[in-house]
């Protein structure tokens, strides 16, 4: 079942890891989408 957290979008730091109820490491979504390789810096070609 899809997990949606409705009530915790408030101002400031929100500690989610301790309250979400599906902390099993292997039981998480393995979706087909992708957001790029392990490079997070901004790209010189765009300057």
């Amino acid at each position: 079942m899809k997990k949606v957290v409705f009530s915790v979008i408030v101002i400031g730091t929100i500690i989610i890891s301790g309250v979400i109820g599906f902390s099993n490491q292997d039981g998480l979504a393995d979706k087909k989408g992708d957001f790029g390789s392990a490079i997070l810096s901004f790209n010189i070609l765009d300057k």
């Binding site: 087909k32 992708d34 490079i39 765009d46």
Partner: protein, 345 residues
């Protein structure tokens, strides 16, 4: 190396890393690394944190982790910002190891050390990585919140278009999860356009893959094929198996059995070569769905059992739902109920 010059070298090294100038970063790394025994503790703390980030951009996550372990030896003298960088880097590594729960826990530790004086790029990338983690945790609402915060920070500076494009990808996939296909398409096409403009081939392949996922989900396999073929042409090993899987599925749906078998065979073989049992089952189940219907039920049951054993709940849900529908269509309601219940885990 002059001791007085080390701070400048560290600064230049950081800039090279941020600008993704790998050759310059490597050159500075080699110079600094030779003189490591001469550094005082403050310099060593800064050095190992930057070294971790350097190893990340050249794709050595294991070495990045080792640098963080060395940095931790100086944790007592860390500044607030160094604490932030340590936890952020750890969270980043967990993300790429697909340990999303650990990633969130570590990023929450990093968040405690964030300061408004940090640069927009740094604040934005924190929210971006958190949005990416929440996407894979299937918590769409929080992924969207952090993606929006990332956009706020990235949109202020032109050189951050690369990161803005990555954020557009996250927003697009969030809207896809909410079945808001038009908005999803808008974000993904914007990201695609930016990737082309900045000639970032790696992210371009990801954008094409995500558009493929969108059109497969919308039931438009012919449109999906166009983007998936482009994604495959991008030759990104990281996403190759996902692309081949969706391509095989789309070819079968559009009655191109020859091409489908080719994509399936390549994906199945590469799953074996890479010892990836999960994708091996996914390809095997796809093949039984379209080509070998006599063995469909037995292989799908075994596949779902495998996913249950390794606690891959996402795949248990996905495949159980489809198998339940199959049994419903065949009026085998007892079997259907079993798999509908499994689809709810």
């Amino acid at each position: 190396m002059e001791h007085l010059g080390i701070a400048d070298h560290l600064h230049n090294w950081t800039l090279s890393i941020q600008l993704d100038k790998k050759e310059a970063a490597h050159s500075i790394y080699e110079k600094l690394n030779k003189h490591i025994v001469e550094y005082d503790t403050e310099t060593l703390a800064a050095y190992f944190l930057i070294e971790s980030r350097y190893h990340t951009i050249v794709g050595n996550l294991q070495e990045s982790r080792q640098s963080l372990a060395k940095a931790r030896e100086y944790e007592e003298i860390f500044t607030e910002l160094q604490h932030y960088k340590l936890f952020f880097a750890e969270g980043f590594i967990y993300y790429y190891e697909k340990q999303y729960q650990d990633a969130i826990a570590t990023l929450e530790k990093a968040e405690k050390y964030m300061s408004p004086s940090m640069e927009p790029a740094e604040i934005g990338e924190f929210h971006l990585i958190k949005a990416m983690v929440y996407y894979f945790l299937d918590i769409t609402s929080l992924s969207a919140v952090h993606a929006a915060k990332a956009v706020e920070n990235f949109k202020t500076l032109e050189p951050l278009s690369f990161l803005l494009a990555r954020t557009e990808l996250v927003l697009g996939m969030n809207h896809l999860d909410m079945s808001d296909y038009e908005t999803a398409e808008k974000h993904l096409l914007t990201a695609l356009s930016t990737c082309k403009k900045i000639k970032n081939h790696s992210l371009l392949a990801s954008a094409n893959l995500n558009l493929g996922v969108l059109y497969v989900t919308r039931g438009l396999p012919a449109t999906a094929i166009r983007y998936l073929e482009d994604a495959l042409a991008g030759k990104q090993k990281r996403i190759e198996l996902n692309v081949l899987f969706l391509l095989a599925d789309s070819y079968w749906k559009t009655n191109q059995a020859g091409k489908a078998m080719q994509a399936y065979s390549e994906g199945f073989q590469k799953s074996l070569d890479r010892d990836n049992t999960k994708t091996k089952w996914e390809f095997a189940m796809l093949h039984k769905k379209y080509e070998d219907r006599d063995n469909f039920e037995i292989v799908w049951k075994e596949g779902i059992e495998y996913f249950r054993r390794v606690n891959d709940k996402y795949n248990v849900r996905t495949y159980s739902k489809e198998l339940a529908q199959y049994y419903t269509d065949k009026k085998q309601y007892e079997h259907a109920t079993t798999y509908y219940l499994l689809a709810l885990i």
